[in-house]
């Protein structure tokens, strides 16, 4: 019963958020719309990263590869297809890439997987660069720009989708299987979990949303080349934001991504030259002093709230 009440609460909260987001663009300046789109992009990246890496503990640094795959799908099809189809196409491309990569490499344990995904971005970037220079004879590509509000709505749609999917996964058998893999992979395998299949499918699902957001966001850039599309920053940021927020609850990555992308916005405008430096310092401080992130602080506070009345009684 309790979990059903929780589900209702989740849907009410999600619905309110959605209604707010859908209503907003009419009342805001275009700057705010762009800012919100940016925040939503990071929220989507962080949430989809957390779908796979949160419960399993496999730290993936491949987000930039999937994001970039989406960007390139959009470069290929933005002139011939409408925005929603481009987003889905970008997601599908990343899904297939992740399925391939995952089935090959997800039997690697722990840090070897991290090393591999770290290199994957460089591999894809270098391959695409080589292909563009030697086969198609260009370096960059032009993307048909879309309207800011349309991009915003597309991002909201992806956000809702990733929210629903991650909620569904945490409540389903798949989520339990992922949790079991995170606790002990061997024990999970012995209890009848098809470890490789579960990991690969979840990895691909999380990549789908990264690709879709890449395809959508690229419509704001109008010009792309392999270096901007496969920017390694899109690999670091989701990990950092998820660590900053925490991964135990659904709200935690959202909070982490929101706070951090706002921080990025402030730092880039106030200190354009020292922004990455400050960013690195903040990162070090967060890892050093808040190992469980915002979530750790919030949960500690919530537990204290709960405990105090019982102590009084």
């Amino acid at each position: 019963m309790k979990s059903r009440a929780k589900t209702y609460r989740f849907f009410i909260a999600a619905f309110t958020l959605l209604a707010l987001l859908v209503g907003l663009p009419g009342y805001m300046s275009s700057y705010t719309v762009i800012l919100l789109t940016n925040i939503l992009m990071y929220v989507v990246l962080t949430l989809s990263w957390a779908i796979f890496s949160g419960p399993t503990g496999y730290i993936s640094l491949a987000s930039a590869a999937f994001f970039g795959a989406g960007v390139y799908m959009s470069a290929l099809f933005s002139s011939s297809l409408p925005l929603p189809l481009v987003a889905i196409g970008g997601g599908a491309a990343s899904f297939i890439l992740a399925l391939l990569v995952g089935s090959l490499t997800l039997r690697l344990k722990g840090m070897y997987f991290t090393m591999f995904t770290f290199g994957l971005v460089e591999l894809v970037r270098n391959s695409v660069h080589w292909w563009e220079v030697n086969i198609t004879g260009t370096v960059g590509r032009i993307i048909l720009a879309a309207d800011n509000t349309a991009i915003f709505y597309s991002m909201v749609a992806i956000f809702v989708a990733v929210l629903v999917v991650s909620h569904w996964i945490t409540r389903s058998k798949l989520g339990l299987a992922l949790q079991a893999i995170g606790e002990s992979e061997e024990a999970a395998a012995h209890s009848g979990v098809n470890v490789t299949k579960v990991k690969t499918v979840t990895f691909a699902v999380s990549a789908f949303f990264m690709g879709a957001s890449g395809a959508t966001m690229s419509m704001r850039w109008t010009y792309i080349d392999p270096t901007t599309a496969f920017n390694i920053q899109f690999s670091f940021m989701p990990v950092l934001m998820a660590i900053f927020g925490g991964t135990g609850h659904l709200y935690a990555p959202i909070a982490g991504a929101t706070v951090f992308s706002l921080l990025e916005e402030v730092l880039t405008t106030k200190f354009p030259y020292y922004y990455m430096l400050l960013f690195g310092l903040i990162m070090l401080v967060v890892i050093r002093f808040m190992p469980h992130g915002l979530e750790g602080v919030i949960e500690m506070w919530r537990n204290r709230e709960k405990r105090e009345p019982s102590e009084a009684a």
């Binding site: 690697l108 770290f118 460089e122 391959s127 950092l240 070090l284």
Partner: protein, 290 residues
């Protein structure tokens, strides 16, 4: 045909020496201190830039600046480990948690170092030429500085190997590599030894960068990342914490890199990566392990 073959073989070996040195440092940091140091390449970059600054600013011969760079970067790494990673290791619940946390902390380090370097040295690429006269080796031609770097990297690698096998501290490092908890119980001051390893790793990276800068390549503050990747691949190739393996892996990677670069310059990173992927799938523990 023979000349072409020699050209590739020697050219690959010359590059491989530096790769090996870089990888020895990375292997120490990950294999013993359990820090997957994504910022490793940044120390290579720092080493290269320090050498450049000393050479163009004060006229210090690059080989001579080893005397400055080695102790400085060793101390840098040692202190970094003490300030950042020792508290992390104490506060992490499990070794796996420490590995994840320390890797993320090294990201932070990467951002900080790279952007400090951008502030200090700016974006334009730098370079200097040193010992650039040609040397003929049975038909193939190489510049003298490449041969000097190969000899220097082999000497440094062997010296470190000798240090590991023949001194008490070396023994403590090897014990910590096998089992840090058991080593601690046997009276090894574990935090100090791990910090030493991180310091030595940083020193190797800086010396690798120093030698790299001598081969007349272009230096830029963002050059580090590709060498981190190379270090990772060589370490996987040679086996973690295996100095001989690092040299074998470095030479293999150097050869492949030289071969691919002479055919298709843009694809050398891709070739490295394909080797890496193949190896991870077939022998994730390295080539030389039983």
């Amino acid at each position: 045909m023979l000349v072409k073959f020699l050209d590739i073989a020697i050219g690959g070996l010359l590059m491989g020496g530096i790769y090996a040195l870089i990888a020895v440092g990375f292997g120490l940091q990950y294999g013993v201190a359990r820090v997957l140091n994504i910022a490793h390449g940044e120390f290579i970059m720092l080493g290269a830039f320090c050498t450049w600054t000393l050479f163009t600013g004060a006229g210090v011969t690059p080989l001579f600046s080893i005397l400055f760079c080695a102790p400085f970067f060793f101390a840098f790494g040692f202190v970094t480990y003490r300030i950042l990673f020792t508290p992390l290791r104490r506060s992490s619940e499990s070794p796996a948690a420490f590995e994840a946390n320390s890797m993320l902390a090294s990201f932070g380090l990467l951002f900080v170092i790279q952007n400090l370097a951008l502030i200090i040295w700016g974006t334009p690429v730098r370079g200097y030429s040193y010992l650039a006269f040609p040397i003929h080796l049975s038909g193939a031609v190489f510049s003298a500085n490449r041969i000097v770097t190969l000899i220097a990297s082999i000497l440094l690698g062997s010296a470190f190997y000798a240090f590991l096998v023949s001194t008490r501290t070396g023994k403590a490092i090897r014990a910590a590599a096998q089992d840090p908890d058991a080593a601690e119980l046997m009276g090894v001051r574990i935090h100090r030894v791990l910090a030493l390893c991180f310091g030595f790793g940083t020193m190797m990276a800086a010396l690798g960068g120093l030698l790299l800068s001598m081969t007349s390549i272009m230096l830029s503050p963002v050059m580090g990342m590709q060498y981190t990747l190379i270090a990772i691949i060589v370490v996987v190739l040679g086996g973690l914490g295996n100095i001989k393996g690092c040299f074998v892996g470095g030479f293999i990677l150097g050869l492949v890199g030289y071969l691919v670069t002479s055919a298709q310059p843009g694809l050398s990173m891709v070739a490295y990566y394909v080797i890496f992927l193949f190896l991870l799938l077939v022998r994730p523990t390295g080539l030389l392990t039983k």
